[in-house]
């Protein structure tokens, strides 16, 4: 049976949290930056994904702060979240390497 692949938004959220804990708006901004502006998460989508990731034990609440009278809740990766992100990144890397190698063979040059 093939292993279920991670959705791009999930991958990017986990990537945003890989360097350290972030609050919701920080994740949205970071995901936009990582994806070069291609993926712009909306709040509903983000919190739906975070709820699922929390349920699956991939992220956890790190801390809470009140900034300007508003609640900021910071999320971080769990060890299982780090493991799954690393596995998914390795899978993407292997697939990309295979694609680039074949393009290089087929066209004579990769670029």
């Amino acid at each position: 049976m093939t292993k279920r692949t991670m959705q791009e938004a999930t991958f990017l959220i986990l990537t945003a949290l890989a360097a350290g804990s972030q609050h919701g708006y920080g994740i949205i901004a970071d995901v936009a930056q990582i994806s070069d502006g291609r993926v712009r998460l909306r709040a509903g989508t983000l919190y739906s994904a975070l709820d699922r990731l929390r349920l699956d034990g991939l992220v956890t609440v790190d801390r809470e702060e009140i900034v300007g009278g508003r609640l900021r809740r910071y999320y971080r990766l769990t060890p299982e979240g780090s493991r799954q992100l690393a596995a998914e990144a390795a899978r993407f890397q292997a697939n990309a390497a295979a694609a680039l190698a074949r393009l290089g063979l087929a066209g004579g040059t990769a670029g």
């Binding site: 708006y25 709040a43 509903g44 989508t45 983000l46 919190y47 709820d51 349920l55 609440v61």
Partner: protein, 220 residues
């Protein structure tokens, strides 16, 4: 009233679509994110924001709340969704194959009058089609209930399985398969799906907190 207060009130209205436990834990932080991302001078949520909140709220009401690591429960939920699709196909099949059934009935009973045939349709075929339609709803309800960790759904689904087993055996004994073999094939497929789903839901431990309203604390 300020623009921000108007906007916040607008967002709060859309957050009411979420399951009750969710805004209790997340409303303050989602509002902070929504307001941080709003345009200067924005007074009302934009249509795409409303659509996003509504879509994720409905999805959170419907989607399974068992962790993906609970593969037995997850597979059972998927099988139940498959069961709903097959049951829908069965309901459609009953309607579509009614002509074949009539031919078989007429072949076996050459003297069958139109009134007698209408009695067969009203007394036997229509109730079966209606029951199949109800069963589609039941399959989906069970998929939702198991996905939310409701333990009572195991008993309900097992009872449904037992009823269908009896029904299938009665159909075989009465020879209904002679009239519509496709119905029997679909019934058998559904029975197998039910059998596997029953085995899975009794094999796994379902969550005791189906609402998923676990209190958030740092480190949770």
């Amino acid at each position: 009233m300020t623009d921000t207060a108007d906007l916040e009130r607008g967002y709060r209205r859309w957050l009411r679509w979420y399951p009750r436990a969710f805004p209790r834990e997340h409303e303050a932080e989602i509002l902070a994110v929504l307001l941080a991302g709003a345009r200067a001078g924005q007074r009302q949520p934009e249509p795409m924001e409303c659509l996003d909140l509504l879509r994720s709220a409905l999805w959170m009401r419907l989607r399974p709340r068992v962790p993906r690591s609970n593969r037995a429960a997850f597979t059972a939920v998927r099988l139940m969704c498959v069961g709903a699709v097959v049951e829908l196909a069965a309901a459609i099949t009953i309607v579509v194959t009614i002509g074949d059934v009539r031919s078989n009935v007429v072949n076996r009973n050459p003297g069958l009058t139109e009134a007698q045939w209408q009695a067969v349709v009203a007394g036997q075929l229509e109730p079966v089609a209606v029951a199949a339609g109800i069963a589609v709803g039941f399959w989906l309800w069970m998929a939702w209930a198991i996905g939310r960790g409701h333990r009572w759904a195991r008993i309900a689904f097992a009872s449904f399985f037992a009823l269908n087993t009896v029904g299938l055996l009665q159909g075989l004994i009465r020879g209904s398969a002679v009239y519509a073999r496709l119905d029997l094939a679909i019934g058998s497929v559904l029975w197998l799906v039910e059998l596997v789903a029953v085995a899975l839901i009794f094999h796994t431990e379902l969550a005791s907190s189906p609402s998923g309203a676990s209190r958030i604390t740092p480190g949770s």
